[in-house]
Amino acid sequence: MTRLERNERLIKIALLVIACSAVSILAVITIFIFSEGTPIMFKYGFKSFLLGLDWYPSEQSFGLLPMIIGSLMVTCGSLIVGVPFGLACAIFLTEFSSRRLRHILKPIIELLAGIPSVVYGFIGVVILVPFIRENLGGPGLSVLAASIILGIMILPTIISISIDSLQAVPVSYREGSIALGATKWQTTKMVTLKAARSGIIASIILGMGRAIGETMAVIMIAGNAINIPNSVLAPVRTLTSNIALEMGYASGEHREALFATGVILFVIIMVLNTLANLTSAKRKA
């Protein structure tokens, strides 16, 4: 019996150690990125990184502002494209369509979340970019192209989580509203959407996280110019593509500056994650 007890204790300790793996990996990555990226930020000053306009690593100028703005523009653009379509689709499937249609379409849309991002990027290159160049002008590789492709990429995330949270709203809420003489849309607008608000916001934040972190698709279609774009048809470089484009080539301070890019991206993502966690925690409560 004592041997069994000892074994149980050992197993428990072993499991605890394993359970710490995720946290320790997170810690190692964080420490790594920060220890590689922050010294150079201290050396040249945070201000020159965050507000500098010139990215010429070979001449010791490491301004990341164009990329920060680029990331924000492309992410906002993708939300402008993805949120209305995603929400409309979710509302339609939960409130206005037959149960059967929902049961067929929801899993299919979720399957589409698995399509690799390079495929989306490729579609952007062969269809969207030439279309924009020929019909709207500019080089085609642009903020607009990146926004549309990222907007499509985040659709499955937004749709699937929004449907879940809309479905979680009790039927009695809707019945009450309908009984008061409201139309279906009035009910949806005033009752259901309000009740499902935090879940929908969480879906948007998750979609935003995916858009801001996407790399390969963006490199393929955004043009990667180191300039603050003056129109949606101008090329743009994001934080992620800055890292991926130059990582292989970098050495010395250039590499550290790319880690600094990683630090900024990391901080933005962590803020988003925490926000998403808070809203979903509120939802559960």
């Binding site: 394993i18 010429y56 160049r133 080089p139 590789l141 110019a225 484009l245 080539y249 970098a250």
Partner: protein, 259 residues
Amino acid sequence: MLVFFLCFLVLTGCARDKAGTGITVAGSTSVQPFADKWAEVYMEENPGKIVNVQGGGSSAGIQATKSGACNIGTSSRELKPDEKDLTEIVVARDGLAIIVHPLNPIDNMTIDQVKSIFNGKIRNWRELGGKDKLITVVTREEGSGTRGAFQELVMKKDRVAKNAIVQDSNGTVREIVAGDPNAIGYISLGLVNDKVRALKLNGVQATDENIISRKYKLVRPFLFVTKSEPTPACREFINFVQSAEGQKLVSEEGLIPVK
């Protein structure tokens, strides 16, 4: 547990250095296709020998050679002063072609005009006698050997304009220029195909003869670099690359042999 696991990996990693017979060649994406060709033929002729070819870029290749992550680094630009502690071997020469869309009416430019386009002074093809269209400038990323060579040979002290589109390999620059009638870019001469057209520079066509006779000005070396003395396995591969057979392969692929 993770620590043990990592230790285990490090140990097996060390063991591998002794056991492995393969050599790794890494660096310039411009040299990569040719290095691949060399490796392919070399391995066919010497069964059992293994040569791994990786991209990464000239600076990364040089860095990886210094740190020992690869055996031979490749570079498509001259070594910088602080990189001169490595042994360098010129394995081929390559012309740098300025390319435009095949439908572009312009077929000749001066090097100064190219420079003015890339630094943003000339922004419309009309200024050069072409159509009234804005020029789409396509350049390479910082750290690329091709960009380094272009900077050195064409831009000199000037910077490439910030609104230029940046791509990270010869192939992608070519693809973009091939798809955009208003684009201009620069790639390795060996990779020019019928989807794009190489411009004459100061009236000189980019051909092998003109490069050998030094009439065509944009020429850069392709280098193999090793840490101090190359190991016997590396030596053997380098000998193959420098042999008549190895050099014949490069000229078939559009490069200029060194011997």
